[in-house]
């Protein structure tokens, strides 16, 4: 573990998290606490590895469970212990770990923790003030509690996919595990609120996070609209119900590879006049119809045609500069290279370097926030699978060297 004297390294000193969760939502949540000093112990198994350990990217030809940069991204600053929970003695090890933990997180299908004797009711017998957070797809109760999915498909259930697409084509969804990046923050907020409550009252509790319910938070007022008026939000391409012009327009080839696009969002009449001015469109400036949003909304096809012609004569960098010089919201549709090289993200030191024993030097995302007084130190790289098994079994769970060796022979440490 990285030691550091900065106060940001000690925000969660003394807090131990037994982290049975996997993939995106849980590991990202506990990583934010690991950044600030919580001791996060990923409970893993080489027979049932975290999906991200089998994912990519990974250095050439390295198919090992320790080579995935995707796993590394969400598990910096943590420890890893190998426990075969399917083994009869695996649950016993887990219970010893939990006895010394403040927070238990898990994202198994509902019912699994009960089956191995680690339901909240059992866990609180071992550690009465524990905070346990379950983060399943659709919550612990209800007719779909055991339904399976992941962020790529759950976004469909959660309503995101259906409003992402063109009006004349099938919906497309976001192409990424979108709900993971939403639900993880609801998990962080809930767990840290519960931890604060415990600091004040000594009382632990059980948090049942449904990734589906948490993800609906970002639907703006879409669910309220349907529930109270029967209106159903539709996919609009890049158009907006309130503002026009509002779209993503093609730009000239700038020889950086791939197609290039610029987003333009005119959100008030003043921005509209400035856009028309830099486009040298006197006819638009003089048009009475176009001077307010209602008129512009009814003329969107024409506006989009005119803007596309204008943007396609220039590179994204040129259009961005023209728009922002006069305060019109505009930005290239950044691809992953643009995001990697973005000057503003670089200014924030957004991509944190990490030197991993197997993966080597890479950079990974940092929090979207910066804090003035307690910034965290650079986190240690993500652990190898079972890297801390001896420490966890011997020092945290209290097994003797002989017992530990026997547990290895018995296939509990795997």
């Amino acid at each position: 573990m990285t030691s550091s004297d900065v106060p940001g390294a000690h925000v969660f000193d003394g807090i131990r998290i037994a982290d049975f969760a996997w993939v995106g939502v849980g590991p990202n949540a506990t990583m934010q606490m690991a950044f600030h000093g919580a001791e996060v112990i990923r409970v893993e198994s080489s027979h049932r590895p975290d999906t991200f350990r089998s994912s990519g990217p990974r250095p050439d030809g390295d198919g090992s469970l320790d080579a995935s940069a995707y796993f590394a991204k969400f598990n910096r600053g943590k420890r890893s212990v190998a426990i075969n929970l399917a083994h009869p003695r695996g649950a016993e090890v887990a219970k010893r770990l939990i006895a010394g933990a403040d927070i238990v997180t898990e994202s198994f299908a509902p019912g699994f923790m009960e089956r191995i004797g680690l339901s909240y009711d059992e866990v609180r017998k071992i550690k009465p003030d524990v905070i346990m957070c379950s983060m399943s797809m659709e919550g612990q109760t209800g007719p779909h509690a055991k339904f399976r999915g992941f962020g790529l498909t759950l976004q469909a259930t959660a309503g995101v996919t259906g409003v992402t697409g063109w009006p004349d084509r099938p919906p497309v969804g976001t192409g990424v595990a979108y709900t993971d990046w939403v639900a993880t923050h609801v998990a962080i907020i809930g767990i840290l609120a519960a931890l604060d409550h415990r600091r004040r009252t000594g009382e632990g509790q059980y948090v049942d996070l449904s990734q589906l319910e948490a993800s609906t938070l970002v639907l703006d007022a879409g669910v309220m609209d349907a529930a109270n008026t029967g209106r159903i939000a539709q996919p609009l391409g890049n158009r907006d119900l309130r503002h026009a012009p509002h779209g993503v327009y093609p730009c000239a080839d700038d020889h950086t590879g791939g197609d290039r696009w610029v987003a333009i969002a005119v959100t008030n009449d003043d921005q509209w006049r400035r856009l028309a001015l830099i486009m040298d469109r006197q006819d638009w400036l003089e048009s009475e119809q176009l001077c307010d949003a209602t008129g512009r909304l009814s003329a969107q096809d024409n506006l989009d045609d005119g803007i596309s012609r204008w943007t396609s004569m220039q590179t994204v960098a040129e259009v961005e500069q023209l728009l922002q010089a006069v305060g019109v919201p505009g930005h290239r549709a950044s691809n992953v290279r643009d995001a990697h090289e973005d000057a503003q993200l670089a200014h924030r030191n957004h991509w944190w370097p990490s030197d991993h024993a197997v993966i080597g030097e890479m950079s990974y995302e940092s929090p979207a926030w910066r804090v003035s007084e307690t910034p965290p130190p650079m986190p240690a790289p993500s652990p190898l699978l079972g890297e801390d098994s001896e420490y966890v079994y011997r020092e945290l769970c209290g097994y003797s060297e002989e017992e530990f060796q026997q547990l290895i022979v018995d296939g509990v440490v795997e």
């Binding site: 469909a156 959660a158 349907a226 995001a339």
Partner: protein, 400 residues
Amino acid sequence: MSQTTKGALGPYRVIDLTVEIGALSTMVLAGLGADVIRVEPPAGHPTRQRGPMLREDTTSSLYWAQMNAGKRSITLDLEDEADRERLRGLCETADFLFESDAPGNMPALGLGYEDVRGRAPQLIYVSITPFGQTGPKSMWAASDLIGHVSGGLSSLVGDPDRAPLRPSVEQAYNITALNAGSAAMIALHARHLTGRGQHVDVSMQAAMANTLGNARLYYEMDGIITERAGGARAFADRATRIIYPCADGYVAFVRVPASMIRLHKWMTAEGAEPRFDAERWASFAIAGNTLPTEDEIAELEAEIEQFFAAHGAQALYESGQHFNVMICPVNTMQDIVDSPQLNARAFLAEVDDPALGRLTVPGAPLKMSATPWRTRPAPIPGQHNLEVLQDRIQAQPIGD
């Protein structure tokens, strides 16, 4: 187990000066029991005019009702120094302040972090902006759409032959707000350590840059620029289809090797007589094995399409999940309202809104056993002027 009535964040007070980019963060804190005080101009907050509306007017905002659920409201005219001083006084009583003005605007009003920290050293001051407080783009004009494109997500969203997309229901603002909520909670725990508040600088661009999955990692390691792939997983140089039409809409289904045997069983049980070789498709999971050809994939997808086309989305969801196949319906907002799962968990709740009457609202996004989420209505402008401002100031109507 004791049931506290105030919620997990019951002791804390939040001053809320945000617009769209931050409103959800304080709504979540209010749901967790914090005393969130919405500060509005005397004429009412501008987002009270943001649609969708309950009625055919410009004042019955469902957006306002949703994003301000459980908050109190006071009216202050921040153009007026006396009211600015009232706000500074209020800061002394608060644990958090959330604001989303352009960098420099709050300091220009004498309300920046440096202006209030002397009087309110305990205050956690959360600034939420499109790009952050400093840097080359910090003063760039922005919007929700700019959030989606500046972080890179749009490049992974949409059909390859058309422009990159954003979801049509605005979300970059809301994802940013949830990030701000996480940041605020970490700063609260930091205050237990240091005894002091601090300034938290949240960036929408950075929040959206953190939604790229492993796509940016593929660029950094292998130089691959992942492109949008329509209704498919945007994954490095090989996309996997997700969206399929069905009898009454669409479903999301990812063809992963591990699920092919289950898919085969399900289709057989439904009388579809699948022709594909499930064992062979399952074998593609084994490293080193050959991968299916384009033709094989097309043939399989056609067969799956034919099966899905005979059934409705909700029926496919129920029956497919029964066979442990990871299939999900592409739900509309109405499907969410009607969801048997959400209704079994009483996700939707009813509140008596002081302006709009009885409303159905989304309730708890997480269930906490000791400190349950509280679903409460949004306030009318200045509803709590007397009870809030008398804390520090002689009670008097504000904005007369």
